[in-house]
Symmetry: C2
Subunit: 147 residues, 2 copies
């Protein structure tokens, strides 16, 4: 059983693991079963409820894929630190202007040049279920964190 | 239609994109539909037939997943170059000692301390179908290469 104290510790541990890795690759499954990934700049730290949030275009193909199949993977790679993190979770589209204003940060301008004025801008919320990670400190043996 | 000259050019282009990124994240789908990824050190450049090869343990869970569902994604991230590459393909296990000897390189020792003497060592062959990439040169607009 995962207690709430365990969960808080696990979220803290995961936050530390990915804090220096701004951009992850989000993998989704398409209608024909093929797997696609694309870079996603995280818009905040992991929230206390174990969610990660990203800005997206609401009409993008990945949103179509997620509406048909919620399960996704986020991979965080830091070649310099030799650290690799796999986050398994489920994703959903959230169109909430207040949440967007709360999460917006200037680094996202590279992907959304008009910022919050982009006509199609929305949020993707990923509920984290399981994390596996590998780094040189643990001699590349797989470590697991369950939320 | 993709001609063989096109294919050669596309393979060359992809090789250039990922030549400085040794370690990718391989995403597979588990029986319950959840998506997992793990780091995979590429053992060679992309082959002329559009395949990428990796060393693996034959009894690892990812091999079990691939036997049930061949479609995978490989993501290559280079935060320093601001380059992100998604490779969609299908994977299969190959247990061929000659091919292993051909592909072995010392950098793989971090993952396989006993080298080719690891009792469970085998190869994973990924046939590449489609590549999407993003980099700062193209202002992060998605670019696609079909093989």
């Amino acid at each position: 059983m995962t207690t709430s104290t365990d969960k808080n510790q696990h979220i803290y541990q995961l936050r530390e693991l990915i804090k220096d890795i701004g951009c992850s690759m989000l993998t989704t499954v398409d209608e024909d079963g093929s797997l696609h990934s694309r870079p996603m700049e995280k818009s905040s730290d992991i929230q206390p409820d174990g969610t990660l949030w990203f800005f997206t275009n609401a009409s993008s193909h990945k949103v179509f894929e997620i509406e048909h199949r919620q399960q996704v993977n986020l991979s965080f790679s830091s070649p310099n630190q030799k650290r690799y993190v796999s986050v398994s979770g489920s994703a959903e589209l959230v169109q909430d202007r207040n949440k967007m204003q709360e999460l917006w940060k200037p680094e996202l301008q590279a992907w959304f040049p008009q910022g919050l004025n982009e006509p199609d801008i929305a949020l993707l919320k990923v509920q984290i279920n399981k994390v596996d990670y590998w780094d040189s400190q643990a001699n590349f043996a797989a470590q697991t964190i369950s939320l």
